[in-house]
Amino acid sequence: MVAPMTPYERAIAAIQNEPVDELASSPLALALCRRLMPEKVTYKEWATNPELCAESFAKGVEHWKFPYTVTLIDLSITASTLGAHVRMDTENTPFVDDHIIHDMEDYDKIVCPDITKGRTGDLIDMNRRLAPMIKGKSFNIAFLEGPLLTLTQAGGAERVFMDMFSDPAPVHKALGETTKLCLETCEKIAETGAEGFCWDYLWGNYACLGDPEYAEFEGDKYAKACNDKVRELGMGLGIHNCADLPHLDTQVKKFGVDMYSMAYYPLIPGSPTAAEVIEQGYGDKCLMMGNIDPQLFVRGSVEQITKVTADLCQEVKTALCKKGLNSRYCISSGCEVPPDLETKLENVDAVMAAVSQYGKM
């Protein structure tokens, strides 16, 4: 029996596979935190105002006592800095609506811009504001799109995928530049006091790319540079990949990460459950994070989500015990808790309460 821990102590212990008082629990309630602010904050305001964004994340830590805070805003930050146009609806996740690649010559025009400007500048600013607010309370994990996701977001995924097959050289040149952008942004964010850094390597999944393609267009060179940079800067290395059928062997075992956030798709054959990822040895390597269905936060009742969480806690505890692990699993949401106005805040409360009750170790 472990003495009660603070969320921060639990966060550190779980990464290191030390004994914990209860399972760590951090649903990816990100833009949802804006709804904890005393005055109404729209999604657009949250995504574009670093001060409001940082304060919202801090409110989330204060209210929900998350052991980990992942500072994902949306997946168009780096694409925007590269010059892609991002549509900002009042209450919708921002997304790229005008790509920058229209012909093969456009790959050559991609150069790493001044990352202290634009949306990457805002992201750095937000992290700078947030770090002191949550220091010692929540393990602060910065978040950024990886090199390939940056390129597909900026250039259009379909276009880039076709060019990867038909004419890969210009794609590689552009990936060199997006990698530079990622590395420079990572360096600046490290200066803000972030303790961990999470890359989104979404395309490392077997619905999109096989092992050789993923190795060629991200894993072997570009992701390696990003992962090495995080290590060099002394931060914990995380990966988020909410796609179905992620490349777990590459991204967990080969990359040697500290934290891995993934989703579970019960309707997709081969999608591994929480117990399976632990049984298959991924929890031996790092803290695995997942996998409550994000839609349950919108459409489920408190009773339903409490039951799902309780069942997941039991599944995880049993699997950890069988593998002789102390703590290497964090109850999370697999993907961002939908930031919609309809998402029920009480369902996040319910998950945190259920883990405290059923996740005791």
Partner: protein, 210 residues
């Protein structure tokens, strides 16, 4: 002669060669091959090989997209050559990403597999308002509507579209399928769609079984 051309068309798709697909389609037309046969016995057979290999994780998204491009290169020549009366029995499908979202790779794969499945597809594109979708279903007599979204806040536009179909009296004539990571069979049921699937190939198989 025809068999040879069919093989050329199929191989052009399988080998992801748009220029060869176009050349073989022109050859078919020059040789007086029935364009419907050229499509079904050539391009579609090739695309089905690609679809099967993709489903079996033997090839991946880049190859599928380039193969689809090759198929469309041939279709662009063959489709206009089909006499209108030959298309009278073909089912009409519409594909779209609903308003508020622009992520369309999944939708484009569905469009490709529907085309390979013999449907006449009207692709409405991305960020499409419910009224546009409902009007298209009504005005063009669409038999099958496939809607997708990646983003949770836009899911309600699937329901809004179905509600409009009901209002306009076309829901009963049109099979509605939905897709995209945030959707689920229970959501499909909740909004009154007929089906939700994980992938394009399975969706087309389901439609063919109806």
């Amino acid at each position: 002669m025809s068999e040879e051309i069919f093989e050329e068309l199929a191989n052009a798709v399988i080998n992801c060669k748009a220029d060869l697909s176009k050349a073989a389609a022109q050859k078919a037309l020059d040789a007086g091959v029935n364009p419907v046969e050229a499509i079904n016995e050539g391009l579609v057979k090739g695309m089905n090989v690609i679809g099967d290999k993709y489903a079996a994780h033997q090839i991946y998204l880049p190859q599928v997209l380039v193969a689809a491009h090759a198929m469309y290169a041939g279709l662009d020549l063959l489709l206009p050559a089909i006499p209108k009366e030959d298309l009278a029995d073909a089912k009409k499908a519409a594909t779209c990403v609903v308003e508020g979202d622009v992520h369309d790779i999944g939708k484009n794969i569905v469009k490709t597999m529907l085309t390979a499945g013999g449907y006449i597809v009207n692709d409405l594109g991305k960020d499409v308002p419910p009224a546009t979708i409902a009007d298209t279903v009504k005005n063009e007599g669409i038999d099958i509507l496939c809607m997708s979204t990646l983003m949770t806040p836009t899911m309600d536009n699937m329901k809004n579209t179905i509600d409009l179909l009901k209002e306009q009296g076309t829901r009963g004539n049109c099979t509605v399928t939905i897709g995209g990571p945030p959707t689920s069979p229970s959501f499909a049921e909740e909004i009154g769609a007929d089906h939700r699937d994980n992938n394009a190939q399975d969706c087309v198989n389901w439609l063919k079984g109806q």
